[in-house]
């Protein structure tokens, strides 16, 4: 455990860039897909990617260097002081489920739209002003 912590301290900058960079990159890529892609399913995928980035940020924020999973399993009963923050993990569970619900609903609307327009290209959906 201590070794890991020392290793973490040594490469802290690198890890920061890697974790935050990945998360922010996912958010930005998702936003790009939502705004620029023409295919409806790709737009929905973009929304999911964006959510994934945010979830990653949540989990990263909860991390405490050298911390273990917040589970008091046998032999680990008194480790409360060395545990990572449980709240973001609980929040992310909620956020994932809600993201799933939104994605499922979005896909069903895509099916509907495809049925009416026989296309999944967003430029050809223009019965309402976009």
């Amino acid at each position: 455990m201590m070794e890991f912590q020392a290793l973490f301290e040594q490469y802290r900058d690198l890890i920061t860039i890697a974790v935050y960079g990945t998360a922010i990159a996912l958010i930005v890529i998702g936003l790009y897909a939502v705004l620029m892609k023409k295919h409806l399913v790709k737009i929905v995928i973009g929304l999911s990617i964006m959510d994934a980035g945010i979830h990653l940020l949540f989990v990263a924020i909860g991390y405490i260097s050298g911390g273990t999973a917040p589970i008091f399993s046998p032999g680990n009963e008194n480790a409360g002081a060395r545990m990572v923050d449980p709240v973001p993990q609980a929040l992310v569970l909620t956020a994932i489920v809600i993201g799933f619900a939104v994605t499922a609903l979005a896909l069903s609307l895509v099916i509907r739209l495809y049925k009416h327009h026989h296309t999944a290209n967003i430029d050809q959906l223009n019965s309402l002003k976009w």
């Binding site: 958010i27 939502v34 409806l40 737009i43 929304l47 964006m50 959510d51 945010i54 940020l57 949540f58 924020i61 709240v87 973001p88 929040l91 909620t94 956020a95 809600i98 619900a101 939104v102 609903l105 979005a106 609307l109 895509v110 509907r112 739209l113 009416h116 327009h117 959906l125 019965s127 309402l128 976009w130």
Partner: protein, 494 residues
């Protein structure tokens, strides 16, 4: 206390989970049970309002953990006022829609009723929760129901409006999560009162970034410019009782969320001006767009957005009188716009065409509904004997007090615009030449009861505004008294 705020949420949830079973016993259960639940919510509201008038605000703990540790539900005069308004309007909308939905085939009624009921329950949840993440969950409950209901008719345009709403709503939830995340890293808590208490220690840069995320996310929910593009489409494509719910319930909850976050949680300078400017732009653009609409429901939708803009302006002015006016306007807007959507949907029902130009002389076919529509139109413009006059009047006075001349000019200009497009419709209804055969769909008795109770409210409050003003005044006081809110919630920690 026999009745606690959690009943607001639990009763609809039990009903929603039980309806698929109850429908096997009696096939009308899906229609009737939501009515019982919504009526129960009205009773809960009246009971709680009575209770807080005697004993002060309620902060109910959930799961037995006191305020900052667990989730709490807060009923202050402010939240109680809005929750009462939402639950009463929700019940009236249910009453209106009771027979209307007989045209739907059996299986679908179940979906419609569950979604509609949960949308109202979720809005009440947004209003009474004291926890920022819990608010996010309720916003999503409202959102999911609203997306589904927008696409409920499964028409081509409905699916498109639903998808558009869903995309923008997806943005809103993503930004809201980011805002909550930043606030959580800085304060280590999710309780709004405790966040507000710790906010002065948060670095300015973090505060601003988080506030921007919240403003974008909740601005979408509150139909604030520039992210309100979903509103006209969703309003016009949803079933009519749902459009009324969007105007009377969902937008109220959206504005509440925005105001709660901006007024209570953050103490950033200049955000009031931002609200005022954005409200002004929202109002001006929406009202100008409303003139050129050919579709009745779209016109009403743009008018709704404009009213929300005016509410935001009044909150932006921020003085006690302005907040009073804003709350009064929220109430009036909910009542009047529900009435307009209810009456308007009978026009649409009888013309098979949502266009304004097919309303010519419809007054002869549907005299009572036309009367209600005209009443609503006059009230929302702000003609003196109706309730709409008072809210606009107080907002104008508060703007004059603070010497915001451009606001006064803008509001008066917008009133002229409203006058133009509403009177155009009313003129068509009453004075244009009639064509076509007599009305095929007469309003049902329950719809008439719903509409006339709203109309009665408009007239009675217009003549005797003193009946409701003390409640609004205490609501405005409760909103502005931020330190009391924080103290009350955090002091009961033991």
């Amino acid at each position: 206390m026999v009745i606690t705020p959690v009943h607001y949420i639990v009763a609809p949830l039990i009903a929603a989970f039980a309806i698929p079973l109850l429908i096997k016993i009696h096939k009308d259960a899906a229609r009737i049970v939501p009515g019982i639940v919504l009526f129960y919510n009205v009773i809960v509201s009246l009971f709680l309002m009575n209770h807080i008038a005697e004993h002060g605000m309620i902060s109910e703990t959930l799961a037995g953990w006191q305020a900052p540790w667990g989730i709490n539900l807060v009923v202050t005069p402010f939240t109680g006022f809005l929750a009462t308004m939402v639950s009463i309007l929700g019940f009236i909308i249910w009453l209106y829609g009771y027979r209307f939905k007989r045209t739907l085939k059996g299986g679908e009624v179940k979906y419609y009723e569950i979604l509609q009921m949960m949308m109202i329950a979720g809005s009440i949840g947004i209003i009474i929760t004291g926890d920022i993440f819990n608010m996010f969950v309720f916003i999503e409950i409202v959102g999911i129901s609203a997306f589904s209901l927008t696409a409920f008719y499964r028409s081509r345009d409905g699916a498109e409006a639903g998808f558009k709403y869903l995309l923008i709503g997806g943005f809103a939830s993503a930004f809201l999560l980011l805002g909550i995340l930043i606030i959580y890293t800085q304060t280590g808590t999710l309780n709004m009162a405790q966040i507000a208490e710790r906010m002065p220690d948060v670095p300015q840069q973090m505060k601003i970034v988080a506030l921007i995320f919240f403003l974008v996310a909740l601005g979408i929910e509150a139909e604030m410019f520039p992210l309100n593009g979903w509103a006209p489409d969703a309003y016009s494509q949803a079933p009519s009782p749902t459009s009324a719910t969007f105007a009377a319930v969902v937008s109220v909850a959206g504005v509440y969320a925005l105001i709660r976050v901006v007024f209570t949680m953050f103490d950033v300078e200049g955000v009031n001006n931002y609200l005022m400017v954005m409200g002004f732009v929202t109002m001006l653009i929406a009202e100008i767009a409303a003139i050129s609409q050919k579709d009745l429901k779209r016109m009403l939708a743009y008018s709704s957005v404009g009213q929300v803009g005016l509410v935001l302006i009044a909150f932006g002015i921020g003085s006690n009188l302005a907040v009073f006016g804003a709350l009064f306007l929220m109430l009036n807007h909910g009542v009047i716009k529900s009435l307009l959507f209810m009456a308007g949907s009978y026009f649409i029902y009888n013309t098979d065409d949502k266009k304004i130009k097919s309303l010519n002389g419809i007054y002869k076919k549907l005299p009572i509904v036309s009367f209600f529509f005209a009443l609503g139109a006059l009230a929302i413009i702000g003609f003196p004997p109706f309730s709409g006059f008072w809210s606009k009047f107080y907002i104008l006075i508060s703007a004059a007090d603070e010497k915001y001349v451009f606001l006064i000019i803008g509001i008066l200009l917008v009133t002229i615009i409203e006058l133009t497009y509403y009177l155009r419709v009313v003129g068509r209804i009453y004075f244009a030449k009639q064509e076509g055969e007599p009305a095929s769909h007469k309003p049902s008795i329950n719809a008439l009861v719903a509409m006339s109770s709203l109309a009665l409210f408009i007239i009675v409050i217009g003549v005797y505004p003193d009946l409701i003003m003390p409640h609004i005044q205490s609501a405005a006081d409760a909103l502005l008294d931020k330190s009391n809110y924080i103290q009350q919630i955090l002091s009961i920690k033991n």
